[in-house]
Symmetry: C2
Subunit: 286 residues, 2 copies
């Protein structure tokens, strides 16, 4: 397997994640090829200096690639995995950037033997989607989860690690179920909670024009991810449904306990429980 | 009633809020007097340049004040209101910075006639409590809710507005019930949701050391306020319990609906509802 500096990397999908990855990789490998359906997207990526060249069809875009990264929504990745195998050169490393991994890794297991598959999930993003929001610094300092398959060679995993490090991220190898559980709790659950909060504030305050002058930092921060790209989130929720529902169930129980705590109004009990939660939060983010 | 520049302002309680207010007012009025129980606190506030002078007893601290601001937790404010009246000079403006207003305004109504009461609630704060975290820029650009009583004179309200503007805030006059409703929804509710999220993440991931490498921005932002000062939050929850419980009830219903949406897995319905919520969030914070 080549060193990253000698590879041609094809990035399929030039949205926020793919465009940012392309920009961060450019100059660190032999060439970055952007693959997008629309010629206009390629032109924009070239104008923004994010890619060395582009292709509007998958076949020509990946033909000479040493590394291919699928940077599309999860269910598009699943469809692309089903058809891309025969298009890839011998020994090609095939990665993705999807937020859920169990279904993707299962689909990767069906790829032809000449391909080296490696699941990937960089823990970064923005509420503004699209190539125009691309930022080569997006991955810097973030965890980049890698989910190798049994068939993934050490060399292929090493190249995946090198790619993550080249964009400034910290690679972390996890099994796909463990990643889907953890990310379901710390990322997919907060998205739905933010959505419920926006719906609640809308229902309770939208009739009062003063609401937007009063709006607090706590609401702004807690509702931020409710503005995430819906197609991306829909794919995530539909491909990590069991974990998300389990996390929601535990959250509803915890919230119910807090409601009872406030209803009961026992000051000592409230202080004990809220202090314990505060301590945990301070330990989580020292 | 004097102009702000000619007043002596006494600030009772030199924590984050009081210390920051003192620092922001200093130089914009004749003198800022800090009142705290411990001599050490006064020394720190003097050393930080936040006050002109200090007092460790309420009687001497407010004796010559034109404006007194109670910057203590809500239930301490309620106790101080019950005893401070006779200590205040004729025509003194008495304000507070408590996050809930209905109970405070009711207590203010019992003040002796020579006092001009005015409820106040600046929409700002930090998760780090205490004088050491004081920052004269804390109020800048924030909404400063004012809740006048029927007995509050136009001149007293004008002086309260001038004080809010002097620290860079935007005064907003609201009735106490309307403020408690709005703030219950946009600020007190998000605190409890953040607490439930911390408890959930703790319950579901604390056994896995990888959890803290995976931790996402969405969780960090959504859980931030769970680190708030517990004494302050306890007083808020206990003095705005009805509004908080009503908001929690609506939130639980909204969340239940989203759980059913994910359970049902109807893609079109999910897209419609999540898109509507996303649009609302974008309207709220354009």
């Amino acid at each position: 397997m080549k060193r990253l500096a000698d590879t041609q990397v094809a990035i399929v999908g030039l949205g926020l994640m793919g465009g940012s990855l392309a920009g961060a990789l450019r100059g660190q490998c032999r060439a970055v090829v952007g693959v997008a359906r629309r010629a206009e997207t390629i032109e924009t990526a070239l104008a923004l200096g994010l890619i060395d060249r582009g292709a509007t069809d998958l076949t020509s875009g990946v033909r000479q690639a040493d590394v291919v990264v699928l940077a599309t929504p999860v269910r598009v990745i699943l469809r692309q995995l089903a058809e891309i195998g025969p298009l890839l050169p011998e020994g090609c490393l095939l990665m993705d950037l999807g937020s859920t991994k169990a279904q993707i890794v299962a689909e990767m297991a069906r790829l032809p033997e000449h391909v080296q598959p490696l699941g990937g999930h960089p823990m970064c993003g923005k509420e503004v989607a699209g190539l125009e929001a691309a930022d080569p610094a997006l991955y810097r300092g973030r965890t980049f989860i890698l989910t190798p398959l049994e068939r993934t060679s050490e060399a292929a995993l090493g190249l995946g690690r090198a790619l993550a490090q080249a964009v400034g991220a910290c690679p972390l190898v996890l099994g796909p179920e463990r990643q889907d559980h953890l990310v379901g709790v710390v990322s997919h659950l907060p998205y739905l909670l933010a959505c419920a909060l926006v719906a609640t504030v809308d229902a309770l305050t939208s009739a009062d024009p003063a609401a937007w002058e009063v709006v607090a930092g706590s609401f702004r921060d807690a509702s931020r991810v409710a503005a995430s790209d819906v197609t991306m989130m829909l794919d995530i929720l539909l491909t990590n449904r069991e974990e998300v529902l389990k996390a929601l169930d535990v959250y509803q129980t915890q919230l119910h306990d807090l409601v009872q705590l406030v209803e009961g109004g026992d000051e000592d009990e409230m202080r004990t429980i809220l202090s314990t939660i505060r301590e945990r939060r301070l330990e989580m983010f020292p």
